[in-house]
Amino acid sequence: MTGQTAAAATEVVASPEEIREVKATAREVGVFYGETNALRNVNLDIRKNEVTALIGPSGCGKSTFLRCFNRMNDTIDGCRVVGGIMLDGDEILAPNVDVVHLRARVGMVFQKPNPFPKSIFDNVAYGPRIHGLASSRAELEEIVDSSLKRTGLWDEVKDRLHAPGTSLSGGQQQRLCIARAIAVQPEVILMDEPCSALDPIATARIEELIDEIRQHYTIVIVTHSMQQAARVSQQTAFFHLGDLVEKGDTEHIFTAPRDERTQSYITGRIG
């Protein structure tokens, strides 16, 4: 499987650099929790319709960085973000940005599957409902159906759309969360270790799904698994102790890391 992905990655690298359109740009991003500087001077381009993996040991700031893209850090008391992130030319860290609108554009999938304690249908329909994306019940059902189909959950749940979302297995719950996120047609999907609570089969299913949906979305994924990063991502950024140490095409990072710390991490010497 790794071989296949590597082959695919080679193809992407082989294509000319210019056609790789940039979706979001982080410039000099830093995050403070109170007095603690959790993240320093991060500059990173997120490319459209690609998967960007953020890797690094625990506490390195990768999740913190991820949560800057939909301003989820706003919900943490005492958390301060500096620098700038442009999403399609819009500055999203500015104080006057409406985070509700931003989060409709930038969806998120969390580490632990967190479906609402409502029916499967209502879980997926929640986003379209609050954002007023469907003008009729039929349209809403259409959105729910297509979101569930796109995540491959449709065949498993079509007969019990009104069963609680929490009654599904862990892997199904996480796919339900992905379906819920894509139901509002976001431009970017953030994934914070989406497979860390899942077994290897469910993980493989999610990884396939990520690879499928990247045709339509831009994905940023935080992962602890370097194999996963190698399998699903086109670009990788390695964080260590709050610094972005190295970034580049996934293949380069894993085959020829420039920085010694990256080398140590991917070979398992630090972590």
Binding site: N70, L102, F110, N114, F116, P117, Y126, G127, I130, T166
Partner: protein, 435 residues
């Protein structure tokens, strides 16, 4: 550094050490379980004793002694002018009719004092019952009927065996002649225990046999209604704001400490506050359930706020993150997801607070809800008393017959508390969701 001084052990020696300790560990666990069972048994025993004592002394209050007398509805006493109007009937001397019936039955009572003692056998309330009968059916005037009349409280006590017969006459509320009369009635089968409907349909009275719980129950109902209407929305809104919206800074910390302190303030202090502010400054009516409800709402607010905040805190943050991550605004996150999940806890907290308020006496004494009120209140602005205060008032009354009525009032109060707590459990079950 690895500590090399530890002696090497034989293989299996460690397992033996563990096994030896294991016995003690299991014994400790068994002991602890026994303590737990003992504590529960003790609590149950105390509770059972409480219930048995209260119900044991209360059940006799639910029946009332009645005596059968031949009653002649004397037209000269009811309606001397013969107008047959309701107004005239209302003014009729029904007490005289009851007295005449008694004299008729026991012609041997001739002296003034004897007659007075004779009249004590039947309650003064019997005359009101006769009047009601005649008002409903004026054809009774001039007729003679065998009727069961409410006995006086002393006769009631004697018949229920709560008045000793073998003590000197001066130590009894009934003298030997009165006892002989009652015995004579009893021998003819003219003394009967009947269900005490009046206890559930009447307001308070100075006469134990005429006193009922309804006035206090209705007063409690209005008071609780006012408390709920004020405390629930205020308490829940405060909790939701503090937990979900307010920044965590020095101000909110001060507010939180104050709310926690308010929960510990003795309830009588709230009563004094109510007296000073609601009665003296705002000029609201004395003894009214509306003021009682306001005072109890102040007292219940901290309970509801603390319980609601705990319930909101218990909602997993992942639910909030999920909703916020979907682009829900904070108010949508709160009302679509967090508050519904916290609802069982909020409702139980509210009902526990309300149950506390239902049993509260001290603050209501301060605002005049301890007054003797016969009428059943028609609204929250009428003078009223409440169940626990009624218990207090009756417990304070000298008549022997009020003792059992006090217990009966406690049973009624406990009944409402059990209903409320059962309601809390049901609501919990209904709203409980898993995540």
């Amino acid at each position: 550094m690895i500590d090399m001084t530890r002696p090497e052990r034989e293989p299996g020696a460690i397992s033996k050490t563990v096994a030896d300790r294991l016995k003690r560990r299991h014994a400790a666990e068994r002991r602890f379980r026994l303590y737990g069972i003992g504590a529960i048994a003790a609590a149950m025993a105390i509770l059972l004793t409480l219930f048995v004592t209260i119900v044991g002394s209360a059940y006799t209050a639910f029946v009332q002694t009645h005596v059968k007398l031949e009653v002649f509805f004397d037209p000269r006493k009811i309606d001397p002018e013969g107008t047959n109007s309701a107004e005239a009937i209302r003014g009729g001397d029904f007490g005289g009719i009851v007295k005449a019936s008694l004299r008729n039955r026991f012609p041997e009572a001739t002296g003034r004092r004897d007659k007075r003692h004779l009249y004590d056998i039947v309650s003064t309330g019997a005359a009101f019952d006769l009047r009601t009968m005649v008002l409903e059916n004026p054809d009774l005037i001039g007729a003679t009927r065998d009727l069961w009349l409410v006995a006086g409280d002393d006769v009631d006590m004697l018949v229920k065996g709560k008045m000793p017969r073998d003590v000197p006459e001066t130590d009894r509320r009934l003298n030997d002649r009165q006892i002989a009369w009652v015995d004579a009635l009893s021998a003819d089968g003219d003394v009967e225990m009947r269900f005490n409907t009046r206890f559930f349909t009447a307001g308070d009275s100075r006469e134990p046999e005429l006193a009922g719980i309804l006035g206090a129950a209705v007063g409690s109902f209005y008071t609780m209604l006012v408390t709920l209407v004020l405390a629930f929305p205020l308490g829940v809104a405060t909790a939701v704001y503090l937990e979900e919206f307010a920044p965590k800074n020095r101000w909110t910390a001060v507010i939180e400490i104050n709310i926690n302190n308010l929960a510990a303030v003795p309830s009588i202090v709230f009563g004094l506050l109510g007296l000073a502010v609601f009665l003296n400054v705002a000029g609201l009516p004395r003894s009214a359930p509306v003021v009682g409800g306001m005072v109890l709402a102040l007292m219940t607010l901290p309970t509801i706020i603390i319980a609601s905040r705990a319930a909101l805190k218990a909602v997993p943050p992942s639910i909030r993150e999920a909703a916020l991550g979907m682009g829900a605004s904070r108010i949508q996150t709160t009302f679509h997801h967090v508050a519904p999940l916290a609802m069982p806890g909020i409702l139980s907290g509210t009902i526990i607070g309300m149950a506390q308020a239902l049993g509260e006496t001290a603050p209501l004494l301060m605002i005049g809800m301890v007054a003797f009120i016969v009428d059943i209140p028609g609204g929250p602005f009428d003078a009223a008393t409440v169940l626990p205060v009624q218990v207090f008032l009756w417990a304070d009354s000298p008549e022997r017959a009020f003792t059992e009525r006090t217990s009966a009032a406690i049973v009624v109060l406990l009944f409402f508390l059990v209903i409320m707590n059962a309601g809390a459990v049901l609501l919990r079950k209904k709203f409980e969701r898993r995540w």
